[in-house]
């Protein structure tokens, strides 16, 4: 009997050894838990880099909402496969409804990035980095927050303003839309802090992160958009001493071998030619559907045929404008030698070594844009002064065009808008420029006229597919996008924009 009990005790001891206290505490060894992070400079840098990384996602689809929705571009319709394209096509045809999947993606994406901005901001005080670094990082994150909200407030008008980390899902239900003015106040305050604390130049290892110049330019545009012209002029003047210049050659601005050049104020960074997963592919998205290798050089990745320059856009260039041939082509030569008259955006067309992985950065703010904003702001504040003409003509001169002079305020306004259209073509400015410079009624009339032209004479052949009756019919409510229907289903207290 004793030895039997001994066996039992032996076995029980043996098995209990393996059961230490931590037996039931397991965490994923391949990932870092959030509670362990945001402590030192390396980790804070990684958190900030993560936000920049997410900006790539926003940039990759930005053309749908900022260019295709405007009169600048359309797309290469595939008449044979009409299965699943309704989502993004709606932005071209002005048939966006609140159930549109792209709208949901857009809304979700902005707030996903916003979470990481707010979360990192919230973790900064408890981190061990220097006060100097804290201040600078805070400024940088606030710039990013302003960049996001400035897009959102222009897309949707009143938006939900979240400026801190929500600890539980329940808190999110109490977050409702606030008036645009409140959003703009937040944007302005964030940018003022950013201007005050960000460096004029980032060190070489951080080249590509936002700078004081980025914040000044964005704040200038925020004032301009709100028609606070005097503040806009003052703010934008602040960039003049910071050392930016126009690149002598327009094509160089977009050359991947000249990234972050003297004209670049803020651009989204990409890198092709390797397996790091940071490549861009705008050339492939923008090349006509059936162009195969003719434009991109690689047949293995099929082009999408989106963001195709419209007839209106092509006609917008004055004769002799050097920018036209850099920015777009009106046809391409197929691999079998035939010329296919489908235009495409060539601004992001550069040689690259791996199929589907281009090296092109995406310009967000560049000096030419700032100069034109300054010209616009001065004209609106005080009329077309010599300075205003100077800024406008610096951009024109580089493009090989003759300088303008003796325009009245209205003509100058038109000239600046025109210049912005061609100078900044396909850089995601057009829709917001139209919104800024036109009243809702003017914008609707303008877009309906454009739509009528497209319907009568489509830029790209439609292979016999007729337009829907609803296509290109703009109404005033459509200057704002709908709040995504799923969000209202989730939280019934969220309000919808009029007309959706």
């Amino acid at each position: 009997m004793k030895y039997q009990i001994a066996i039992v005790i032996f076995i029980i001891c043996l098995s209990s050894v393996s059961c230490s206290k931590d037996f039931l505490n397991k965490t994923d060894p391949t990932r870092i838990g959030t509670e362990l992070f945001f402590k030192d400079q390396v980790q804070v840098d990684q958190a900030v880099n993560g936000v920049y990384g997410q900006l790539q996602g926003i940039t990759n689809t930005g053309y749908i909402f900022k260019e295709m929705m405007s009169d600048n571009t359309t797309f290469d319709l595939n008449p044979l496969d009409r299965g699943g394209a309704a989502g993004w096509e709606a932005f071209e045809f002005s048939t966006v409804n609140s159930g549109n999947g792209e709208i949901s993606n857009l809304w979700n994406l902005y707030y996903r990035v916003m979470y990481n901005v707010n979360n990192t901001l919230g973790k900064l005080p408890a981190s061990t980095i220097t006060d100097e670094a804290k201040k600078q990082t805070e400024g940088e994150l606030k710039f990013l927050r302003a960049l996001l909200y400035f897009d959102m407030v222009r897309y949707w008008g009143d938006v939900v303003l979240v400026t801190k980390t929500l600890e539980t899902p329940d808190e999110a239900f109490t977050q409702l839309r606030v008036p645009q003015t409140q959003v703009y106040t937040q944007i302005e305050n964030d940018l003022k802090d950013a201007v005050a604390s960000m460096p004029v130049k980032q060190p070489a290892a951080k080249l590509g992160r936002a700078t004081k110049g980025s914040a000044i330019s964005l704040l200038g545009e925020v004032y301009l958009t709100q028609k606070k012209y005097a503040e806009a002029v003052t703010t934008l003047n602040g960039i003049l001493p910071l050392g930016y210049t126009l690149m002598p050659n327009y094509a160089d601005v977009f050359d991947p071998t000249k990234k972050n050049n003297a004209e670049s104020v803020f651009e989204i960074q990409y890198q092709g030619g390797n397996d790091l997963g940071e490549w861009s592919n705008f050339m492939y998205v923008f090349a006509p559907r059936l162009s195969g290798a003719a434009i991109t050089g690689y047949a293995s990745v099929v082009p999408s045929g989106r963001n195709i320059p419209t007839n209106d856009m092509i006609a917008a260039y004055e004769a002799g404008d050097l920018r036209k041939d850099v920015s777009l082509k009106t046809s391409y030569t197929a691999t079998d030698g035939t010329v296919v008259p489908i235009p495409y955006v060539s601004k992001y067309k550069h040689a690259h070594t791996i199929a589907g992985r281009t090296d092109d950065n995406w310009p967000v703010i560049r000096y030419a844009d700032v100069l034109l904003m300054l010209a616009e702001a001065i004209n609106e504040a005080t009329g077309p002064t010599a300075d205003a003409f100077n800024y406008l003509n610096r951009v024109r001169t580089r493009a090989g065009l003759s300088p303008l002079s003796s325009l009245d305020k209205t003509a100058f306004r038109t000239a600046v808008l025109q210049e912005r259209r061609v100078e900044l073509a396909f850089e995601n400015h057009r829709w917001f420029d139209l919104k800024r410079t036109k009243t809702a009624a003017e914008l609707v009339a303008f877009m309906n006229a454009h739509g009528a032209r497209e319907k009568a004479n489509p830029t790209v052949g439609r292979g016999g597919v007729a337009f829907n009756a609803q296509d290109y019919i703009y109404t005033e409510n459509e200057v704002l996008l709908p709040i995504p229907a799923p969000q209202i289903l989730i939280n019934a207290q969220l309000t919808q924009n009029a007309g959706y």
Binding site: S15, S18, K26, N49, Q54, L80, G83, N118, Q269, A466
Partner: protein, 1016 residues
């Protein structure tokens, strides 16, 4: 207690007798071999020989117990030395059978919970590819589906419906006491299995705690019979085919050209309102009758008469204190699609016995190695779906006789890699090595107190290798060319799993008098599983000669590790009074690494009672009423399939480029939820076990109601939180149902008949999700939706209700507005009555129910002299399938080949097809809109009856040195009776809660087999 020690003592003084005797079948009087004869009071036992005879030594006054699988237990008192003649009667799932239950065994007559057993002898001789197939049709409420015909694929098993929306509904599999997980593994050789018990109600499964709520399948592997030494050899050979009647018919080459021509011309007629001239028609299909080739791509990928073989050799040694079974098996199955196959080499050694008076030990070890050649088969763009829709006008071979690697891509028809070429040139292999080992030591501490310690280990090594050479093109739509060469690519991943558990069990069965039986179980178990893996992928190979990662120019790799652990304390008590009142109660307290920090431990109690009416004095005695037992049980179980680390928040990688170099970036990927816990199910079960006519008729009836709450679901949260969903324990689902099984055995002269029928009705209802109006949608606008809606059954099919086809513009103008619809488009219900049928889910309604009203099975077995015959019918009635593939195979754009029935489509108001008002008529010749959206058009009733297995065996006359020999023939998936137009009404390609979606899968073959079994 006092009595317990005195009683055996008084008996021990008696003398010993040498008893000889013979055991035979009470019905047929044929001798029964292999019957276990045991002295009840001692540890001695023997088994009967071929002629049914036995010899055993037993003390006077002791009792001999005769047990044999499939027969009722018999006890005979030893009174003298006389020769005894024993007749055993066949038991219909006999009440005296011993049944394996959680952490122990129990006599069937004492069971007070819902447990079904699968008797291997009742299954017949049909070939079985795995454990899950054995369960098919064997127990009410256990629905086993062969979702596709992939070689080596497991079947889907559901016990009492789908009880979880978030955590899966797979039962727990326990092999020889080792709770392995929710997957039995195809690597268990079915020939090594002795019995299977399926625990259905909470009283039976609560002892498995947070893994018990979907039912538990207990698998016991074979052990040697007392006193026997046997060598068994069995060989099966069979062939597999997709029956002609189960193939989908599509247009031939000339027919497709005709179709293209008509579509093209109808388009001109409608949009340009003129009659096109023949010369305008593109030359590719201008003269359909001149079409040169016609290829039926589906038939081309079939492997006709695909062979399968199964060899098994086992050696059972039952002599001496240590008994053993050794077995070796080799199974090989060629798939019904060429170049797909599965083979499995398995060995098993089960060794154990009594070491001395106090110690019993056992060790079972099994190892399998399997190899699977696969291909992607699910969905329209995979092998099966693509063969239906690719261009039939194209030939297999080019003019030089070489196989063409790419098909289609002309005249606007989608281009696909040639499926035969793809199957021959793409490597897609999975190899699995699996080792399972269970050992135990049992120590008798006191007479009635036993301690059992067991250790269980599973090692699994899994390797997947994929290589696609540059000669495989891309799928490409609409006149674009995806023709090769394309970049070659390769993937390889390997993972290894270690799962072990240690169980310590104490059982105590005090003898407290004749009228009372009592036993206790107390135990402790700990289990841990760790999976580690590496994966690599590469592309841009310089050539196709070296299909390994090292040859790739661009490579990437990854590694991972994940795991879980649990600790549990268990206790159980069983009490019976005079066999009349039966009581059982159990408790498990379980902690798991998967639960949030605030809820590390959960309690899972259960209790059940039984009342044997036939033992009551007030019950009149009827000769036909053998036994009647009523029982009831209640218990709480859990489902811990909630992901390993769901309660924690982690950082994910989102890198950036700074200074023109990579810059590490991190972002938060989810909310943390420290209060996350397991799903809880409370189940009530009321049952009746009835035996009539001396066990000739055995009836079991069962009602249950299972309430699952705190389901772990991703709930949609406002995106402004930074995330679109978060996991939470919410929602309630009810499953209630009725199960009925009857087993009837009869003997007519020399013919023995066994009829076994079972039927189950299950109704699910979602009681709460989040708030009263919430609903969860799964699926897509063009692929069919399933909706989880409060007050409704799980997974209702959701879409537009079809009212017909618009014939004229006038009809369109008068109907609620459907943006973009033209004549020929389908007319849908404006469900919200606002005058507009919107192009989203707003006007969609429930259009089908994927849950059968009832499922049933019937086994008819007969033996006559040396012949035995077995046939299994299964059926499911009253359920729907969304035949998603028809959105492609009935696509009227002319970009795909189409079904034969497309010839009878709507073409114009004058030519609307023979039955435009049919629910399944196709609209939309001219325009893509309002034809392929989720709608009633694609919903089919899939009720079926399936003759799953037929087998016929013949026992050969006695041959020298061979104790028995048998040959048999069988047919599996013999005949299917259904109106469903797809290959397989059991198809289900999405998760359980998105039932009934068919986008084409690997077709299910019919198998003919012959085989032989020899016993030496």
């Amino acid at each position: 207690m006092f009595l317990a020690f005195i009683l055996p003592g008084t008996l021990a003084i008696s003398q010993d007798f040498n008893i000889t005797g013979k055991v035979s079948n009470g019905a047929s009087s044929t001798p029964l071999s292999g019957v276990t004869v045991r002295v009840k009071e001692k540890q001695t036992a023997t088994t009967t020989k071929e002629d049914g005879t036995f010899t055993i030594t037993a003390p006077k006054g002791s009792t001999l117990v005769f047990t044999h699988v499939g027969y009722a237990l018999r006890e005979v008192a030893v009174t003298n030395n006389a020769k005894v003649e024993i007749q055993l009667s066949a038991s219909a799932g006999g009440l005296d059978e011993v049944v394996v239950v959680g952490y122990g065994t129990k006599r069937k007559r004492d069971i007070t919970s819902a447990i079904s057993t699968v008797n291997m002898a009742d299954i017949g001789e049909a070939p079985s590819r795995g454990v899950t197939q054995l369960l098919q049709g064997q127990a009410p409420g256990v629905v086993v589906k062969q979702k596709d015909g992939r070689p080596g694929a497991e079947f889907e098993v559901r016990v009492r419906g789908i009880s979880s929306l978030g955590a899966g509904s797979e039962p727990l599999y326990v092999i020889d006491g080792f709770a392995m997980g929710t997957n039995a593994g195809v690597n268990v050789n079915p020939n090594d299995i002795e019995s299977i018990s399926i625990l259905k109600d909470a009283a039976a499964t609560a002892i498995y705690g947070a893994r018990g709520s979907n039912g538990v399948v207990l698998i016991t592997t074979r052990s040697a019979k007392e006193g026997q030494t046997r060598l068994n050899v069995s060989v099966d050979y069979g062939i597999q085919n997709i029956p002609k009647s189960r193939r989908v018919t599509v247009l031939t080459g000339p027919e497709f050209a005709q179709f293209k021509k008509e579509v093209w011309m109808d388009n001109v007629r409608y949009f340009q309102n003129r009659e096109p001239s023949i010369n305008e028609v593109p030359i590719g299909f201008r003269y359909p009758e001149q079409t040169k080739y016609s290829t039926n791509w589906f038939n081309e990928i079939l492997h006709n008469n695909a062979p399968y073989t199964d060899y098994n050799i086992s050696l059972a040694s039952g002599s001496g204190p240590i008994k053993s079974v050794l077995s070796i098996g080799y199974y090989k199955e060629e798939g019904a699609i060429i170049k797909t196959n599965y083979d499995r080499f398995s060995i098993r050694a089960n060794i154990g016995g009594q070491v001395n008076k106090f110690i019993t030990m056992g060790w079972n070890t099994a190892a399998t190695y399997s190899r699977q050649n696969l291909t992607n088969t699910d969905g329209r763009n995979a092998i099966v779906g693509s063969t239906l829709i690719m261009d039939p006008r194209e030939p297999m071979y080019d003019s030089t006789g070489a196989m063409r690697p790419y098909i289609g891509g002309v005249d606007g028809v989608f281009g696909y890699p040639n499926p035969v070429y793809l199957l021959n040139h793409v490597t897609n292999k999975r190899n699995i090595a699996d080792i399972l080992s269970n050992g135990f030591i049992e120590v008798a501490l006191l007479k009635n107190l036993r301690f059992r310690s067991s250790a269980n280990v599973r090692l699994n090594y899994n390797n997947f290798r994929f290589f696609q050479p540059s000669t495989i093109g891309n799928l490409l739509g609409s006149g674009q060319s995806g023709a090769p060469p394309k970049l070659a690519r390769a993937d390889e991943n390997t993972d290894q799993l270690l799962n072990y558990s240690l169980d310590q069990l104490l059982t105590y069965a005090p003898n407290i008098g004749e009228n009372h039986t009592l036993d206790f179980l107390a135990g402790f178990t700990a289990q841990e599983e760790t999976t580690r893996g590496v994966s690599g992928s590469g592309n841009t190979f310089p050539d196709d000669l070296v299909p390994y990662l090292g040859a790739a120019i661009l490579r990437s790799s990854n590694s991972f590790e994940l795991g879980w652990s649990l600790l549990a304390y268990i206790g159980r008590v069983n009490y019976a009074f005079q066999d009349k009142y039966l009581l059982s109660a159990s408790m498990r307290r379980e902690g798991s690494s998967r639960f949030g920090a605030k809820n590390k431990y959960g309690n899972f109690p259960a209790a059940s009672i039984g009342w044997r009416l036939t033992k009551e004095k007030f019950m009149p005695k009827f000769s036909w009423l053998t036994d009647l037992k009523l029982r009831a049980s209640v218990g709480e179980t859990g489902n811990n399939n909630i992901g390993n680390y769901s309660s924690l928040a982690f950082l994910g990688t989102d890198n950036y480029i700074l200074g023109n170099a990579i810059a590490a970036g991190k972002v938060v990927t989810s909310f943390a939820n420290s209060s996350l816990e397991w799903e809880k199910s409370t189940q009530v079960d009321v049952g009746m076990d009835l035996s009539l006519f001396n066990n000739k008729v055995v009836i079991t009836a069962e009602y249950y109601n299972k309430l699952t709450k705190d389901m772990l679901l991703p709930i949609s949260i406002p995106a402004v939180s930074g995330f679109t969903s978060s996991l939470a324990n919410i929602g309630k689902v009810e499953n209630k149902g009725f199960e009925f099984a009857v087993d009837y055995r009869a003997k007519v002269n020399k013919l023995n008949i066994r009829n076994s029928f079972n039927i189950a009705f299950n109704r699910s209802k979602i009681l709460a999700i989040k708030g009263p109006n919430d609903a969860l949608y799964y699926g897509s606008f063009y692929g069919g939706y399933n909706v989880q809606k409060v007050g409704r059954p799980i997974g209702m099919i959701y879409g537009y209700k079809k009212l017909g086809i618009f014939n004229t513009q006038d009809e369109i103008d008068k109907a609620p507005k459907q943006d973009g619809v033209i004549p020929g488009g389908m007319r849908f219900l404006d469900a919200d009555g606002n005058g507009v049928v919107t192009y989203d889910t707003k006007d969609m309604v429930e259009i089908g129910n994927p849950n059968p009203k009832f499922t049933w099975a019937h086994t008819l077995a007969m033996d006559y002299k040396k012949f035995d015959f077995n046939i299994l019918f299964i059926g499911a009635q009253g359920f729907d399938i969304y035949r998603n593939i028809e959105a492609s195979t009935m696509n009227m754009d002319g970009v795909f080949n189409v079904l034969d029935k497309a010839k009878d489509r709507w073409r114009s108001p004058q030519n609307p097809g023979s039955n435009p008002n049919d629910q399944h008529s196709q609209g939309g010749t001219n325009y893509f809109k309002w034809s392929r959206e989720s709608s009633e058009r694609y919903v089919y009733d899939a009720s079926y009856m399936w003759i799953k297995n037929i087998s016929l065996g013949y026992a050969l006359p006695k041959i020298k040195n061979i104790s028995s020999a048998k040959v048999f023939i069988s047919v599996t998936n013999a005949f299917l009776f259904t109106n469903y137009p797809g290959n397989n009404p059991d198809v289900s390609q999405r998760s359980s809660i998105e039932g009934g979606n068919d986008d084409e899968a690997y077709p299910v073959p019919r198998t003919f087999a012959i085989g032989a079994k020899l016993n030496f």
